[in-house]
């Protein structure tokens, strides 16, 4: 039900505007000195000095992809193409290849000779991370793709993806796996001669 609200009456001070204007200026000057010459922790600003200052992203922010390393520095990726199959934006291109004959992984494993992600096409859905059976591709960097003025800068190749560390600053993952070719793999010591 509608009801009437009683308007507060105007005083002479209100009517003259001078007092209220001075009060307002007081707030303005207080904020001005607080945000410019006052101690930094007292500052109340809506803006930040980007890119020198950055805000913390939420915990669940995905960020740009990276390729994790094995202990020996080789990519953990086995070029199974599960990520590029799962990718709805079709932004991942991989060319698999076999390790060289002198590599302990030769014959067992494959590796990506070419691994390219078109970050302009990527929709950051994280399906590639879900699909990866080797924990080789991760979106735990906490950073976004840096701005650039050239399209080519957004085409991340294998070297670029392997040069991005995770949030913890390392290039590996805390996810151990015994792979053929690793000294820890029990199958390696068996007699292979026929």
């Amino acid at each position: 039900m509608a009801y009437a609200i009683k308007k507060p009456g105007r005083t002479v001070a209100d009517q003259s505007y001078v007092v209220e204007a001075v009060k307002g200026l007081g707030v303005t000057f207080k904020r001005f000195f607080q945000n410019t010459i006052g101690p930094a922790e007292n500052r109340k600003t809506a803006t930040i000095r980007y890119p020198e200052e950055t805000r913390e992203y939420p915990e669940r922010f995905r960020g740009v992809h990276r390729l994790t390393h094995r202990v020996d520095g080789s990519p953990r990726c086995v070029a199974c193409l599960c990520c590029s199959t799962a990718c709805p934006a079709q932004c991942i291109y991989i060319e698999p290849a076999e390790y060289e004959a002198d590599d302990p992984r030769h014959g067992y494993e494959r590796y990506p000779r070419v691994f390219v992600i078109d970050e302009l096409r990527c929709i950051f859905c994280g399906f590639c991370v879900e699909a990866c059976p080797c924990d080789a591709i991760r979106m735990d960097t906490g950073t976004h793709v840096p701005a650039s003025w050239k399209r080519e800068h957004f085409i991340f190749d294998k070297e670029t993806l392997m040069s991005i560390p995770g949030k913890d600053g390392t290039y590996v993952t805390a996810n151990p796996r015994h792979e053929p070719g690793d000294p820890t793999h029990p199958g390696l010591d068996r007699d292979k001669a026929h």
């Binding site: 193409l81 030769h106 199958g187 292979k192």
Partner: protein, 530 residues
């Protein structure tokens, strides 16, 4: 025809058929690993266990939990039978989808996966592996065993073409039986027992007969992988087109597996055809796919003052028409490597429109095949040309060889040549004479004929065009285009019609069925293949 009942469905059979074979003939699949329609029965994988209702059940005494008594009681259960070994009888009732069967299938599947490494990401069989398919269809449960699996040799070299992974092997023995029964070479066998069981090569031997790649194709899992295809592509990206092998006159039916994104052929697989190749193909045949991409001719070539100059396709067609317009005594060289359609239109243009009367056939000889060619009693025909019979038939009679052509040129009987294909049984030196007269050649690859030609016009390979081959038995088999020809290149018959137009001779074929309709009936029959 007598019938039996499988899951309520009436299925006809021939006396002597096993349950799985009768069902397979009808297109019903009973899960199996070790059974193969072309090999003997091993009945060792136990995946095809079924319940036979009609016969007196073989009862196995078991202990079952009784809820009321809160104790185990003695009872019996029906023994399941392997469908691959059990012969069908009239009126037999078989259940392949009941609770007992499903439990057996799940248990067999779990047993096979106990020590399997499940390295599907690096396994080349991923996507066409029976372990994956049947796990999803009949088990869908996680492994209950939590100890380290038994490790066995990985990446063992079996021979020049095959790599073996014992951990992935499920001991179905299909590869052993294939070598024994089809090839007749007992090069593979099993050793050890239980979970140490593995396939091994005979001492002092390698897996190096002429059919080694078939062992990879009969392997239901990724234990045997082909060195050529290893780590090259994932099968779920590949599409298949029905093809016919170019390797010899047997004309084995193939699946041409290509990647539509890159328009590239990755492998050839045998396509079942009881009358030609059954389920098999030879190594050399499977490797003919390399010809689709290696040594290709992608631009026109014109010989100017002794040097070969690459020119656009249009320019080479123009140059070809100039040569043909001037010719009076034209030699027409058919090709045993090209399709009936190509040879037929070549005959139309060369003989009917340009008046060529001297007809020859360019065909590979066993010696001219790189690495040599030998026939055998299994599949390989002594003639390494897929379409000698077809080319001869559309030309309307026996053709003379390219060696005869060289002799005729020396005798001055010829003043121009129109030839098809790259293949010839003679070397470039033996054919040097052919370069003495203006010579138009339509070819997809570099070969002796292209090297002695004045003008080479690029044409499509057999993977890039549909066509028909007639094999040594006289069967006309059609195959379909797999990939698109690059750079505006067209099939040979279309290119011949273009050249015909340039010299003012209209050949009224616009589509392939029109060419087929005009060809002799024996060379255009629709193949029995799917």
């Amino acid at each position: 025809m007598p019938t039996f009942k499988l899951d309520g469905q009436e299925i006809p059979f021939e006396p002597g058929d096993t349950i799985i074979r009768a069902a397979w003939k009808k297109g019903v699949e009973i899960p199996h690993y070790c059974w193969h329609p072309g090999l003997s029965i091993a009945a060792n994988c136990r995946m095809c266990l079924v319940e036979i209702k009609s016969a007196r059940p073989m009862a196995l005494p078991i202990l079952a939990w009784d809820e009321k008594k809160k104790d185990y009681v003695e009872t019996t259960k029906n023994k399941l039978q392997p469908a691959c070994q059990m012969e069908v009888t009239e009126g037999m009732e078989v259940v392949s989808k009941g609770a007992a069967v499903e439990k057996a299938q799940a248990s067999v599947q779990e047993f096979l996966l106990l020590n399997h490494p499940v390295d599907c990401p690096i396994c080349d069989q991923a996507g066409e592996c029976k372990l994956q398919d049947y796990w999803l269809a009949h088990q869908k449960k996680l492994k209950r065993k939590d100890t380290e699996p038994v490790h066995k040799p990985k990446a063992v070299r079996f021979g020049p073409t095959i790599v073996y992974d014992a951990e992935r092997c499920i001991m179905c023995t299909r590869c052993i039986r294939f070598c024994d029964e089809v090839v007749g070479d007992h090069v593979l066998d099993m050793r050890e027992r239980g979970n140490k069981n593995e396939i091994c090569v005979s001492p002092g031997r390698e897996l190096d007969h002429a059919y080694t790649l078939m062992t990879e194709h009969v392997c239901p899992v990724g234990a045997l992988t082909s060195k050529d295809f290893r780590f090259k592509a994932r099968v779920w990206f590949l599409r298949s087109a029905p093809g016919v092998c170019n390797g010899c006159a047997t004309g084995c039916n193939t699946w041409v597996d290509y990647d539509p994104r890159y328009q590239r052929v990755y492998r050839l697989r045998p396509r079942d055809n009881e009358e030609v190749n059954k389920f098999w193909m030879c190594d050399a045949g499977m490797m003919t796919y390399k010809r689709f991409h290696e040594d290709r001719i992608l631009t026109g070539r014109v010989r100017q003052e002794g040097r070969v100059v690459e020119v656009p396709r249009d320019v080479s067609i123009e140059a070809a028409s100039k040569v043909l317009e001037k010719s009076q005594r034209l030699a027409v060289v058919f090709s045993a490597q090209h399709t009936n359609e190509d040879n037929f239109v070549l005959g139309k243009l060369g003989r009917e429109h340009l008046g060529g009367t001297a007809l020859y056939l360019a065909a590979l000889s066993p010696e001219s095949v790189p690495g040599g060619w030998k026939g055998d009693a299994i599949l390989r025909h002594p003639d390494p040309n897929p379409n000698r019979a077809g080319a001869t038939a559309v030309a309307g009679g026996e053709l003379r060889s390219t060696a005869d052509l060289a002799a005729d040129i020396a005798a001055g009987k010829i003043d121009a040549i129109l030839s098809l294909g790259w293949a010839a049984g003679e070397s470039v030196e033996q054919l040097a004479n052919l370069a003495n007269v203006p010579h138009v050649n339509l070819s997809s690859n570099i070969g002796p004929l292209t090297q002695v030609a004045t003008v080479v016009v690029p044409v499509a390979t057999t993977a890039e065009a549909s066509g028909t081959f007639v094999n040594a038995k006289g069967m006309a088999q059609q195959f379909q285009r797999a990939v698109n020809a690059p750079l505006g290149i067209k099939s040979a018959w279309e290119t011949l019609i273009e050249i015909g137009k340039r010299v003012g001779r209209e050949i009224a074929f616009a589509k392939l069925p029109e060419v087929r309709a005009a060809m002799p009936a024996t060379t255009s029959a629709v193949a029995a293949a799917s």
